[in-house]
Protein backbone atom coordinates (compact mmCIF):
# COMPACT_ATOMS: atom_id res chain seq x y z
CA UNK A 1 0.00 0.00 0.00
CA UNK A 2 2.96 2.28 0.74
CA UNK A 3 0.74 4.87 2.27
CA UNK A 4 -0.48 6.01 5.70
CA UNK A 5 -2.99 4.62 6.33
CA UNK A 6 -2.70 1.62 4.02
CA UNK A 7 -4.79 1.84 0.85
CA UNK A 8 -8.33 1.00 1.85
CA UNK A 9 -10.49 1.79 -1.15
CA UNK A 10 -11.36 -1.05 -3.50
CA UNK A 11 -10.28 -0.09 -6.98
CA UNK A 12 -13.00 0.80 -9.51
CA UNK A 13 -11.54 -2.06 -11.55
CA UNK A 14 -10.42 0.50 -14.09
CA UNK A 15 -7.05 -1.08 -14.73
CA UNK A 16 -8.33 -4.14 -16.54
CA UNK A 17 -5.88 -3.81 -19.41
CA UNK A 18 -2.95 -3.65 -17.02
CA UNK A 19 -4.15 -6.71 -15.14
CA UNK A 20 -4.70 -8.64 -18.36
CA UNK A 21 -1.24 -7.71 -19.67
CA UNK A 22 0.48 -8.46 -16.35
CA UNK A 23 -1.09 -11.92 -16.15
CA UNK A 24 -0.23 -12.62 -19.80
CA UNK A 25 3.39 -11.54 -19.30
CA UNK A 26 4.12 -13.21 -16.00
CA UNK A 27 1.45 -15.82 -15.27
CA UNK A 28 0.95 -17.54 -18.62
CA UNK A 29 -2.53 -16.16 -19.24
CA UNK A 30 -3.39 -16.79 -22.90
CA UNK A 31 -4.15 -13.47 -24.56
CA UNK A 32 -7.41 -14.79 -26.04
CA UNK A 33 -8.81 -15.31 -22.55
CA UNK A 34 -11.71 -12.94 -22.01
CA UNK A 35 -11.37 -10.17 -19.46
CA UNK A 36 -12.89 -10.42 -15.99
CA UNK A 37 -15.76 -7.98 -16.59
CA UNK A 38 -17.24 -10.04 -19.46
CA UNK A 39 -17.48 -13.17 -17.40
CA UNK A 40 -19.38 -13.97 -14.26
CA UNK A 41 -18.11 -17.50 -13.55
CA UNK A 42 -14.65 -18.54 -12.40
CA UNK A 43 -12.38 -17.80 -15.36
CA UNK A 44 -8.70 -18.36 -16.17
CA UNK A 45 -8.15 -14.67 -15.44
CA UNK A 46 -9.52 -15.07 -11.91
CA UNK A 47 -7.40 -18.19 -11.42
CA UNK A 48 -4.26 -16.43 -12.65
CA UNK A 49 -5.06 -13.43 -10.45
CA UNK A 50 -5.27 -15.76 -7.47
CA UNK A 51 -1.96 -17.33 -8.48
CA UNK A 52 -0.34 -13.87 -8.58
CA UNK A 53 -1.89 -12.84 -5.25
CA UNK A 54 -0.64 -16.04 -3.66
CA UNK A 55 2.87 -15.50 -5.04
CA UNK A 56 3.02 -11.98 -3.57
CA UNK A 57 1.57 -13.02 -0.21
CA UNK A 58 -1.63 -11.01 -0.74
CA UNK A 59 -5.06 -12.11 0.34
CA UNK A 60 -6.17 -14.56 -2.40
CA UNK A 61 -9.46 -13.07 -3.55
CA UNK A 62 -9.27 -13.30 -7.34
CA UNK A 63 -10.41 -9.67 -7.34
CA UNK A 64 -8.25 -6.75 -8.56
CA UNK A 65 -8.12 -4.78 -5.29
CA UNK A 66 -5.95 -1.73 -4.63
CA UNK A 67 -3.07 -3.71 -3.11
CA UNK A 68 -2.96 -6.13 -6.04
CA UNK A 69 -2.88 -3.24 -8.51
CA UNK A 70 -0.18 -1.57 -6.43
CA UNK A 71 2.06 -4.61 -6.83
CA UNK A 72 1.32 -4.78 -10.57
CA UNK A 73 2.42 -1.16 -10.98
CA UNK A 74 5.84 -1.77 -9.43
CA UNK A 75 8.84 -1.89 -11.75
CA UNK A 76 10.12 -5.44 -12.05
CA UNK A 77 12.11 -8.10 -13.88
CA UNK A 78 10.76 -9.18 -17.25
CA UNK A 79 11.16 -12.90 -16.52
CA UNK A 80 7.79 -14.58 -15.79
CA UNK A 81 6.95 -15.65 -12.22
CA UNK A 82 5.77 -19.06 -13.33
CA UNK A 83 7.30 -21.54 -15.78
CA UNK A 84 6.27 -20.85 -19.38
Amino acid sequence: SHGFPAATSETQEQDMEMIQKYLENYYNLKSNEKQIKKQRKITPVVEKLKQMQKFFGLKVTGKPNAETLNVMKQARCGVPDVAQ
Binding site: H2, R76, V79
Partner: protein, 367 residues
Protein backbone atom coordinates in the same frame (compact mmCIF):
# COMPACT_ATOMS: atom_id res chain seq x y z
CA UNK B 1 13.54 -20.00 -3.74
CA UNK B 2 12.55 -21.58 -7.06
CA UNK B 3 14.79 -23.31 -9.59
CA UNK B 4 14.02 -22.61 -13.23
CA UNK B 5 11.70 -25.16 -14.81
CA UNK B 6 13.74 -28.14 -16.06
CA UNK B 7 16.59 -27.29 -13.67
CA UNK B 8 18.93 -25.85 -16.27
CA UNK B 9 22.49 -25.35 -14.95
CA UNK B 10 25.98 -24.68 -16.24
CA UNK B 11 27.96 -27.92 -16.43
CA UNK B 12 31.27 -26.06 -16.06
CA UNK B 13 31.79 -23.75 -13.08
CA UNK B 14 34.44 -21.43 -14.53
CA UNK B 15 32.12 -19.17 -16.50
CA UNK B 16 32.98 -16.24 -18.75
CA UNK B 17 31.10 -12.98 -19.23
CA UNK B 18 31.37 -10.05 -21.60
CA UNK B 19 29.85 -6.58 -21.44
CA UNK B 20 28.88 -5.91 -25.05
CA UNK B 21 27.89 -2.25 -24.67
CA UNK B 22 27.44 0.41 -22.00
CA UNK B 23 24.67 2.65 -20.73
CA UNK B 24 25.34 6.39 -21.05
CA UNK B 25 23.84 6.84 -17.57
CA UNK B 26 26.99 5.81 -15.72
CA UNK B 27 30.75 5.99 -16.34
CA UNK B 28 32.03 2.82 -18.03
CA UNK B 29 34.30 2.02 -15.11
CA UNK B 30 31.33 2.18 -12.72
CA UNK B 31 29.41 -0.26 -14.91
CA UNK B 32 32.42 -2.60 -15.06
CA UNK B 33 32.79 -2.49 -11.29
CA UNK B 34 29.07 -2.89 -10.67
CA UNK B 35 28.79 -5.97 -12.86
CA UNK B 36 31.91 -7.46 -11.30
CA UNK B 37 30.46 -6.95 -7.79
CA UNK B 38 27.19 -8.53 -8.88
CA UNK B 39 29.05 -11.65 -10.03
CA UNK B 40 31.01 -11.71 -6.76
CA UNK B 41 27.79 -11.97 -4.74
CA UNK B 42 27.12 -15.32 -6.42
CA UNK B 43 30.71 -16.60 -6.57
CA UNK B 44 31.13 -15.90 -2.83
CA UNK B 45 28.48 -18.50 -1.99
CA UNK B 46 29.02 -21.12 -4.69
CA UNK B 47 31.83 -22.96 -6.52
CA UNK B 48 31.26 -20.73 -9.57
CA UNK B 49 33.97 -18.40 -10.90
CA UNK B 50 33.43 -15.61 -13.45
CA UNK B 51 36.08 -14.33 -15.83
CA UNK B 52 35.56 -11.23 -17.95
CA UNK B 53 36.40 -11.51 -21.65
CA UNK B 54 36.52 -8.65 -24.15
CA UNK B 55 35.72 -10.29 -27.48
CA UNK B 56 33.94 -13.27 -28.95
CA UNK B 57 31.14 -15.29 -27.37
CA UNK B 58 31.11 -15.53 -23.57
CA UNK B 59 28.80 -17.75 -21.54
CA UNK B 60 27.01 -14.66 -20.20
CA UNK B 61 26.71 -11.74 -22.62
CA UNK B 62 25.56 -8.49 -20.99
CA UNK B 63 24.03 -5.63 -22.97
CA UNK B 64 21.80 -2.56 -22.76
CA UNK B 65 18.98 -2.47 -25.31
CA UNK B 66 15.81 -0.61 -26.30
CA UNK B 67 12.33 -1.90 -27.11
CA UNK B 68 12.48 -4.76 -29.67
CA UNK B 69 16.04 -6.01 -29.53
CA UNK B 70 15.68 -9.28 -31.40
CA UNK B 71 15.05 -11.80 -28.66
CA UNK B 72 11.26 -11.99 -28.94
CA UNK B 73 10.94 -10.17 -25.59
CA UNK B 74 10.82 -6.46 -26.45
CA UNK B 75 11.28 -3.91 -23.69
CA UNK B 76 8.50 -1.47 -22.87
CA UNK B 77 10.02 1.97 -22.47
CA UNK B 78 10.62 3.68 -19.11
CA UNK B 79 9.39 1.82 -15.99
CA UNK B 80 7.64 -1.54 -15.73
CA UNK B 81 10.10 -4.10 -17.11
CA UNK B 82 13.66 -3.10 -16.17
CA UNK B 83 15.63 -6.07 -17.51
CA UNK B 84 15.50 -9.77 -18.23
CA UNK B 85 17.89 -12.71 -18.47
CA UNK B 86 17.97 -16.16 -19.98
CA UNK B 87 18.48 -19.47 -18.24
CA UNK B 88 21.82 -21.32 -18.55
CA UNK B 89 22.53 -22.67 -22.03
CA UNK B 90 24.31 -22.01 -25.31
CA UNK B 91 23.90 -18.85 -27.41
CA UNK B 92 21.32 -16.57 -25.80
CA UNK B 93 21.43 -18.79 -22.71
CA UNK B 94 22.67 -16.94 -19.62
CA UNK B 95 22.56 -13.57 -21.36
CA UNK B 96 21.38 -10.44 -19.50
CA UNK B 97 19.61 -7.50 -21.18
CA UNK B 98 19.01 -4.17 -19.42
CA UNK B 99 16.32 -1.78 -20.70
CA UNK B 100 18.20 1.33 -21.86
CA UNK B 101 14.99 3.34 -21.55
CA UNK B 102 15.56 3.18 -17.76
CA UNK B 103 17.85 5.55 -15.89
CA UNK B 104 20.60 3.41 -14.39
CA UNK B 105 22.16 4.62 -11.13
CA UNK B 106 24.62 3.55 -8.45
CA UNK B 107 22.65 5.02 -5.54
CA UNK B 108 19.16 4.57 -4.13
CA UNK B 109 17.43 6.53 -6.90
CA UNK B 110 15.65 4.52 -9.58
CA UNK B 111 17.07 2.21 -10.78
CA UNK B 112 20.08 0.80 -9.04
CA UNK B 113 22.12 -1.18 -11.57
CA UNK B 114 23.90 -3.29 -8.95
CA UNK B 115 20.62 -4.53 -7.49
CA UNK B 116 19.07 -5.35 -10.88
CA UNK B 117 22.26 -6.96 -12.22
CA UNK B 118 22.58 -9.22 -9.18
CA UNK B 119 18.95 -10.31 -9.64
CA UNK B 120 19.31 -11.01 -13.37
CA UNK B 121 22.49 -13.03 -12.85
CA UNK B 122 20.45 -15.29 -10.59
CA UNK B 123 18.39 -16.17 -13.67
CA UNK B 124 21.54 -16.61 -15.77
CA UNK B 125 22.65 -19.24 -13.26
CA UNK B 126 19.37 -21.15 -13.11
CA UNK B 127 17.19 -19.47 -10.49
CA UNK B 128 13.59 -18.40 -11.10
CA UNK B 129 11.69 -15.81 -9.01
CA UNK B 130 11.33 -16.24 -5.27
CA UNK B 131 8.19 -15.20 -3.38
CA UNK B 132 10.37 -14.17 -0.41
CA UNK B 133 10.17 -10.37 -0.46
CA UNK B 134 13.57 -10.18 1.23
CA UNK B 135 15.23 -12.27 -1.50
CA UNK B 136 17.21 -10.72 -4.31
CA UNK B 137 15.24 -13.05 -6.62
CA UNK B 138 11.93 -11.39 -5.70
CA UNK B 139 10.45 -10.13 -9.01
CA UNK B 140 9.52 -6.55 -8.04
CA UNK B 141 12.17 -3.85 -7.77
CA UNK B 142 12.59 -2.77 -4.12
CA UNK B 143 15.96 -1.18 -3.31
CA UNK B 144 16.55 -1.45 0.42
CA UNK B 145 19.81 0.51 0.57
CA UNK B 146 22.25 -2.34 0.16
CA UNK B 147 22.53 -5.30 -2.19
CA UNK B 148 23.13 -8.69 -0.60
CA UNK B 149 21.98 -12.25 -1.10
CA UNK B 150 19.39 -13.35 1.42
CA UNK B 151 19.58 -16.82 2.93
CA UNK B 152 16.82 -17.78 0.47
CA UNK B 153 19.05 -16.81 -2.48
CA UNK B 154 22.04 -18.65 -1.02
CA UNK B 155 19.96 -21.78 -0.46
CA UNK B 156 18.79 -21.56 -4.07
CA UNK B 157 22.17 -21.24 -5.75
CA UNK B 158 23.65 -23.92 -3.51
CA UNK B 159 20.78 -26.25 -4.42
CA UNK B 160 22.01 -26.01 -8.03
CA UNK B 161 25.81 -25.88 -7.66
CA UNK B 162 26.54 -26.94 -4.09
CA UNK B 163 28.35 -24.92 -1.39
CA UNK B 164 31.22 -22.58 -1.96
CA UNK B 165 34.79 -23.59 -1.27
CA UNK B 166 34.96 -20.70 1.25
CA UNK B 167 35.71 -22.13 4.68
CA UNK B 168 33.22 -19.86 6.43
CA UNK B 169 29.74 -21.04 5.58
CA UNK B 170 28.14 -17.87 4.19
CA UNK B 171 24.80 -16.86 5.59
CA UNK B 172 22.40 -14.15 4.54
CA UNK B 173 19.60 -12.25 6.25
CA UNK B 174 16.34 -14.08 6.83
CA UNK B 175 13.09 -12.32 6.10
CA UNK B 176 10.92 -12.21 9.24
CA UNK B 177 7.78 -14.35 9.08
CA UNK B 178 4.92 -12.53 10.75
CA UNK B 179 3.43 -15.73 12.18
CA UNK B 180 6.71 -17.10 13.50
CA UNK B 181 6.04 -17.67 17.20
CA UNK B 182 9.64 -16.66 17.92
CA UNK B 183 9.27 -13.27 16.22
CA UNK B 184 10.66 -10.32 18.19
CA UNK B 185 10.74 -6.62 17.32
CA UNK B 186 13.27 -3.79 17.23
CA UNK B 187 10.72 -0.98 17.56
CA UNK B 188 6.97 -0.37 17.32
CA UNK B 189 4.92 2.81 16.92
CA UNK B 190 1.48 3.97 16.08
CA UNK B 191 1.30 6.02 12.89
CA UNK B 192 -1.88 7.77 11.77
CA UNK B 193 -4.13 5.28 13.45
CA UNK B 194 -2.19 2.17 12.48
CA UNK B 195 0.47 0.21 14.37
CA UNK B 196 3.82 -0.30 12.62
CA UNK B 197 6.24 -2.98 13.77
CA UNK B 198 9.95 -2.82 12.82
CA UNK B 199 12.43 -5.71 12.52
CA UNK B 200 15.81 -5.52 10.76
CA UNK B 201 15.18 -3.98 7.32
CA UNK B 202 11.45 -4.66 7.41
CA UNK B 203 8.22 -3.16 8.67
CA UNK B 204 5.01 -5.07 9.34
CA UNK B 205 1.52 -3.71 9.75
CA UNK B 206 -1.97 -5.06 9.81
CA UNK B 207 -3.60 -4.43 6.45
CA UNK B 208 -6.89 -5.84 5.21
CA UNK B 209 -5.35 -6.83 1.86
CA UNK B 210 -3.00 -9.31 3.47
CA UNK B 211 -4.02 -12.59 5.11
CA UNK B 212 -1.63 -12.13 8.04
CA UNK B 213 0.09 -8.72 7.89
CA UNK B 214 1.75 -6.53 5.28
CA UNK B 215 5.56 -6.97 5.34
CA UNK B 216 7.90 -4.87 3.28
CA UNK B 217 11.16 -2.95 3.41
CA UNK B 218 11.34 0.15 5.63
CA UNK B 219 13.16 1.70 2.65
CA UNK B 220 9.85 1.70 0.77
CA UNK B 221 8.80 4.63 2.97
CA UNK B 222 12.08 6.12 4.18
CA UNK B 223 14.93 5.10 1.83
CA UNK B 224 17.75 6.40 4.00
CA UNK B 225 16.37 4.88 7.18
CA UNK B 226 16.62 1.46 5.67
CA UNK B 227 17.28 -0.68 8.70
CA UNK B 228 18.25 -1.18 12.31
CA UNK B 229 15.72 1.13 13.93
CA UNK B 230 15.85 0.77 17.72
CA UNK B 231 12.94 2.86 18.99
CA UNK B 232 10.01 4.82 17.59
CA UNK B 233 7.09 6.85 18.90
CA UNK B 234 4.33 9.05 17.54
CA UNK B 235 3.35 12.52 18.73
CA UNK B 236 -0.07 12.25 17.14
CA UNK B 237 -1.25 15.84 17.66
CA UNK B 238 1.78 16.95 15.64
CA UNK B 239 1.36 14.15 13.10
CA UNK B 240 4.98 13.30 13.76
CA UNK B 241 6.79 10.00 14.28
CA UNK B 242 10.30 9.93 15.70
CA UNK B 243 12.62 7.09 14.69
CA UNK B 244 15.73 6.35 16.75
CA UNK B 245 19.00 4.68 15.75
CA UNK B 246 22.08 4.91 17.94
CA UNK B 247 22.40 8.40 19.41
CA UNK B 248 20.48 10.01 16.55
CA UNK B 249 16.82 10.31 15.59
CA UNK B 250 14.72 11.37 12.62
CA UNK B 251 11.25 12.92 12.56
CA UNK B 252 8.88 11.84 9.79
CA UNK B 253 5.42 13.02 8.76
CA UNK B 254 3.87 10.16 6.76
CA UNK B 255 6.49 9.28 4.20
CA UNK B 256 8.33 12.62 4.47
CA UNK B 257 11.47 12.88 6.57
CA UNK B 258 11.30 16.36 8.13
CA UNK B 259 14.16 18.72 7.26
CA UNK B 260 17.05 19.19 9.67
CA UNK B 261 17.32 15.56 10.73
CA UNK B 262 18.97 13.42 11.97
CA UNK B 263 19.44 15.19 15.30
CA UNK B 264 21.35 14.21 18.43
CA UNK B 265 19.44 12.65 21.34
CA UNK B 266 21.82 14.46 23.67
CA UNK B 267 21.07 17.92 22.37
CA UNK B 268 17.37 17.45 21.71
CA UNK B 269 16.33 15.55 24.84
CA UNK B 270 19.21 16.12 27.25
CA UNK B 271 20.33 12.51 27.61
CA UNK B 272 23.74 12.03 29.26
CA UNK B 273 26.52 10.88 26.94
CA UNK B 274 26.52 7.55 28.77
CA UNK B 275 23.32 6.71 26.85
CA UNK B 276 24.42 5.22 23.52
CA UNK B 277 20.98 4.31 22.18
CA UNK B 278 17.31 4.15 23.12
CA UNK B 279 15.68 0.71 23.50
CA UNK B 280 12.07 1.88 23.30
CA UNK B 281 9.93 5.02 23.58
CA UNK B 282 6.26 5.89 23.92
CA UNK B 283 4.29 9.15 24.11
CA UNK B 284 1.39 9.34 26.57
CA UNK B 285 -1.21 11.62 25.06
CA UNK B 286 -3.17 12.54 28.15
CA UNK B 287 -0.10 13.64 30.10
CA UNK B 288 2.02 14.96 27.24
CA UNK B 289 4.94 12.91 28.53
CA UNK B 290 7.24 10.65 26.56
CA UNK B 291 8.83 7.67 28.30
CA UNK B 292 12.26 6.59 27.08
CA UNK B 293 13.52 3.13 28.00
CA UNK B 294 17.30 2.57 28.16
CA UNK B 295 18.66 -0.71 29.56
CA UNK B 296 17.15 -1.09 33.06
CA UNK B 297 16.16 2.59 33.39
CA UNK B 298 13.57 4.96 32.00
CA UNK B 299 13.38 8.71 31.56
CA UNK B 300 10.29 10.92 31.29
CA UNK B 301 10.34 13.82 28.85
CA UNK B 302 7.80 16.65 28.77
CA UNK B 303 6.86 17.25 25.11
CA UNK B 304 5.29 20.62 25.90
CA UNK B 305 8.11 22.02 28.04
CA UNK B 306 10.54 20.17 25.77
CA UNK B 307 12.68 19.11 28.70
CA UNK B 308 13.40 16.00 30.70
CA UNK B 309 11.47 15.81 33.98
CA UNK B 310 13.53 15.98 37.16
CA UNK B 311 14.25 12.87 39.26
CA UNK B 312 15.03 10.60 36.30
CA UNK B 313 16.22 8.06 35.34
CA UNK B 314 14.28 5.57 37.43
CA UNK B 315 14.29 1.76 37.40
CA UNK B 316 11.87 0.21 34.90
CA UNK B 317 11.03 -2.50 37.43
CA UNK B 318 9.80 0.21 39.84
CA UNK B 319 7.88 2.36 37.40
CA UNK B 320 6.30 -0.49 35.41
CA UNK B 321 6.04 -3.44 37.80
CA UNK B 322 5.79 -6.86 36.23
CA UNK B 323 7.17 -6.17 32.77
CA UNK B 324 10.73 -7.11 33.71
CA UNK B 325 13.74 -4.80 33.76
CA UNK B 326 14.29 -4.23 30.03
CA UNK B 327 12.10 -3.35 27.02
CA UNK B 328 12.57 -4.11 23.30
CA UNK B 329 9.67 -1.97 22.09
CA UNK B 330 6.52 -0.24 23.31
CA UNK B 331 3.53 1.59 21.84
CA UNK B 332 0.39 3.09 23.29
CA UNK B 333 -3.18 2.54 22.10
CA UNK B 334 -6.41 3.67 23.76
CA UNK B 335 -4.49 4.80 26.82
CA UNK B 336 -2.75 1.44 27.39
CA UNK B 337 0.96 0.71 26.95
CA UNK B 338 1.90 -2.44 25.05
CA UNK B 339 5.38 -3.52 26.14
CA UNK B 340 7.41 -6.03 24.12
CA UNK B 341 10.29 -8.06 25.50
CA UNK B 342 11.45 -11.01 23.36
CA UNK B 343 8.40 -12.97 22.25
CA UNK B 344 6.27 -11.59 25.12
CA UNK B 345 3.84 -8.68 25.01
CA UNK B 346 2.40 -7.04 28.16
CA UNK B 347 -0.71 -4.86 28.03
CA UNK B 348 -0.08 -2.34 30.82
CA UNK B 349 -2.40 0.24 32.36
CA UNK B 350 -0.24 3.26 33.22
CA UNK B 351 -2.95 4.63 35.50
CA UNK B 352 -3.23 1.62 37.78
CA UNK B 353 0.33 0.47 37.01
CA UNK B 354 -0.97 -3.04 36.44
CA UNK B 355 -0.45 -5.62 33.72
CA UNK B 356 -3.83 -6.47 32.17
CA UNK B 357 -2.84 -9.22 29.73
CA UNK B 358 0.17 -11.20 28.59
CA UNK B 359 0.27 -12.12 24.87
CA UNK B 360 2.69 -13.35 22.24
CA UNK B 361 4.57 -10.54 20.53
CA UNK B 362 2.90 -11.23 17.17
CA UNK B 363 -0.67 -11.46 18.49
CA UNK B 364 -1.68 -8.49 16.29
CA UNK B 365 -1.19 -10.36 13.02
CA UNK B 366 -4.26 -12.61 12.68
CA UNK B 367 -2.05 -15.72 12.77
Amino acid sequence: FVLTEGNPRWEHTNLTYRIENYTPDLPGAVVDNTIEKAFQLWSNVSPLTFTKVFKGQADIMISFAWRDHGDNSPFDGPGEVLAHAFQPGPGLGGDVHFDEDERWTNDFTDYNLYHVAAHELGHSLGLAHSSDIGALMFPSYIFSGDVQLSQDDINGIQAIYGPSKNPTLPTGPQTPRVCDSKLTFDAITTIRGEVMFFKDKFYMRVNSFYPEAELNFIAVFWPNLANGLQAAYEVAHRDEVRLFKGNQYWAVRGQDVLPGYPRSIYRSFGFPRSVKNIDAAVFQEDTGKTYFFVAHHYWRYDEYKRSMDAGYPKMIADGFPGIGNKVDAVFQKNGFFYFFRGTRQYKFDPKTKRILTLERANSWFNC
